[in-house]
Symmetry: C2
Subunit: 393 residues, 2 copies
């Protein structure tokens, strides 16, 4: 049962951006101006909607809506692409009697292709005709690309002044747009909140969630997470509410991030990599990311193989400081490596059935200090190759 925040309307339509029929243009509109936050890709080649979205968010603005298209990423499209992005939000804003800066844009799809502006001109009235007829699930469906399922997470949050609702929707699959697989997420809330606090909570929650998962280690030119808080609940966030809001936001984004990995292109498993006992958190992160990005670890997990040697080798080359004799590695809850050697126990038959699960726990203790980090990564199997070796051809 979704907990849908008050004061938002949804609309989706088929704008003809694909060769086949499907909804590929989606809008969420707040009844009143909403406090907006955004976190964007760090890729130096950032897409036109990222450039325009950042511009709009400068100076803590309130916005009215977010419009997302699939089909074309509008990335690597030069000045023309930026101009086209501005035109699309102007078309919508004009029809709604709003200013262009009231609408945040996001795009995902093939990069290097210019928009067909005729299609946009025809699509905007169709989109607006559906306003209020569609719901959050329609929105979550319309923004998907190569995803196998939609990604929605919601919470009711009990604040000092009363209940507010938080709703997140995301798309993912791979991490890169030439594969039509940019990561996009939209979070809606009906709390009344200070713009600086909202952006700060948002950035912290993204760092704890989307920044701690990986399908293929890539960062797309379009990655965007937007958050709106429109105050329609009539409840204002107080200083006492900060931690509960951050916790709920982190929960929702973490659930979406988990679904992203689970639906990673060609993924069959989610590796939950936990590193503790590092010299510091940065060292723990190094170890966790090296394991999560290792093709040899990922193929072993795909092959349901308790190959402790590959995990150990990844730890050893991560660059983190530790004494090899102090390291322990556990797989699916069973310790398989300690004191520089595999444990003296025939763990393969014990682990064989456990390694068939979708969720696999890899726990590393370094015995060096208090640093820790948790990272989620997909496995690597034939479906990944199928999905990625022949996309454009």
């Amino acid at each position: 049962m979704l907990s849908t925040p008050k004061g938002y309307q949804f609309a989706v339509t088929d704008a003809g951006f694909h060769k086949y029929p499907r909804n590929n243009l989606a809008l969420v509109l707040s009844d009143t101006p909403a406090t907006a936050a955004g976190v964007f890709t760090k890729n130096r080649f950032c897409a036109a909607p990222v450039i325009v979205g950042k511009e709009i968010l400068e100076g803590k603005p309130a916005v009215r809506g977010i419009m997302i298209n699939t089909g074309q990423a509008n990335a690597c499209t030069g000045e023309q692409g930026i101009q086209n992005c501005r035109t699309t939000i102007s078309l919508l804003a004009k029809a709604l009697n709003l200013a262009p800066k009231d609408i945040l844009p996001a795009s995902t799809g093939v990069i290097g292709q210019q928009f067909d502006m005729n299609k946009w001109e025809k699509a905007v009235p169709l989109l607006l005709a559906n306003l209020g007829k569609n719901n959050a699930t329609d929105f979550a469906d319309a923004i998907l690309t190569t995803d196998a399922f939609h990604k929605i997470s919601s919470r009711k949050i009990n604040l000092v002044g009363g209940d507010v609702s938080l709703l997140g929707m995301a798309k993912g699959a791979g991490m890169i747009c030439p594969n039509m697989a940019t990561m996009l997420a939209v979070v809606l809330c009906d709390v009344q909140i200070d713009a600086d606090l909202w952006q700060s909570l948002f950035r912290q929650a993204v760092d704890q969630s989307f920044n701690r998962v990986s399908v293929d280690g890539d960062t797309s030119t379009n990655d965007t997470v937007y958050g709106l808080a429109n105050g329609a609940s009539g409840i204002s966030a107080t200083a006492e509410d900060t931690s509960i809001l951050l916790e709920a936001l982190t929960d929702v984004l973490s659930e979406l991030a988990y679904l992203l990995v689970k639906d990673g292109e060609g993924a069959s498993k989610v590796l939950h990599i936990s590193v503790v006992g590092a010299k510091n958190n940065a060292d723990a992160e190094l170890v966790a990311r090296t394991i999560g990005h290792s093709p040899l670890v990922k193929t072993a997990m795909y092959g349901r193989d308790a190959n402790w040697g590959r995990i150990v080798a990844a730890i050893g080359r991560s660059g983190a400081e530790f004494n090899p004799n102090d390291v322990t590695v556990s797989l699916c809850g069973y310790k398989i490596f300690e004191k520089g050697q595999p444990v003296d126990f025939d763990f393969d038959p014990v682990l064989e059935p456990l390694l068939k699960a979708v969720d696999i726990a890899i726990d590393v203790r370094l015995g060096e200090g208090q640093g820790q980090y948790i990272f989620k990564a997909s496995d690597l199997g034939h479906a990944y190759i199928d999905c990625n070796a022949s996309y454009r051809s």
Copy 2:
């Protein structure tokens, strides 16, 4: 036609380290003490023969030979493993009337397994019985594991005092021992050379060759490159010879490194990634490595897909500094991306036949400064998954 240095004898035998018959123990012995150099894995979990080999090389020693076994890596074997490694070289040294520190050890194979010392005791006399009956090719064959072909490169070098010979032999396949695929290389020369100079040339040549290739981004616990120079040619290296020696050594190691990538586990292509115009060499290296390690670029190349967007996205997330509008990307010699956009030219039909080649050139210009770097990487396809998803099972 191999240019074999003077004063070396080879021996190989089947020591029974595998379940099936094959030569798995190899020795090269110099007639006289040879100046020795070594470069080892940076993995914190380093194997017993790496620990013992480093010990022997401390203090610029001369050694008489190198003994390499396949089957067991003698890594993650604790104190017992180190003790066993010492015993193996003692067995050989005793039979040859030498000291243990005259023999450098190296191992490759399954990690976490202790040697069967009975097999070693029986094998050493068999090995020595073959001394002089085997040649360099037998040696290069005996050190292979999952390799598809042996890797040999040699040069005759014209020094001021006369000609000397340089011969390199390597094994590779994957980069990690649980897959029996440690990178090992042995280089033999008959020049007379100062130990410090030899080690210095050696380290520079390794940095220009083996350190600039990748199959899967992993570093094994056993990676070792040894170099011997025994002076049997009667020619001493002078100060004037330094650059020509370095060039030849770099050539031989680069050829071996190329063969390593070409024979990478499941590889069908060698990507030659060249980055120029970076702010500095470190930035160029960042860009080249990010492209070479990107699963999305690697699968695109496997799929013969001129997917410039994935190359551009890798450049953009590398962390290097540049202006996106100054970047150009060429594939197989054709410029496909410049000024922030794909070039206005239907390059797919032109590139289609070229992308069928084994060797693929990816050239990146950043337009920022004088930094440059060259990196070689394999592609990523189904054979890699087949090879790595089911090794232990």
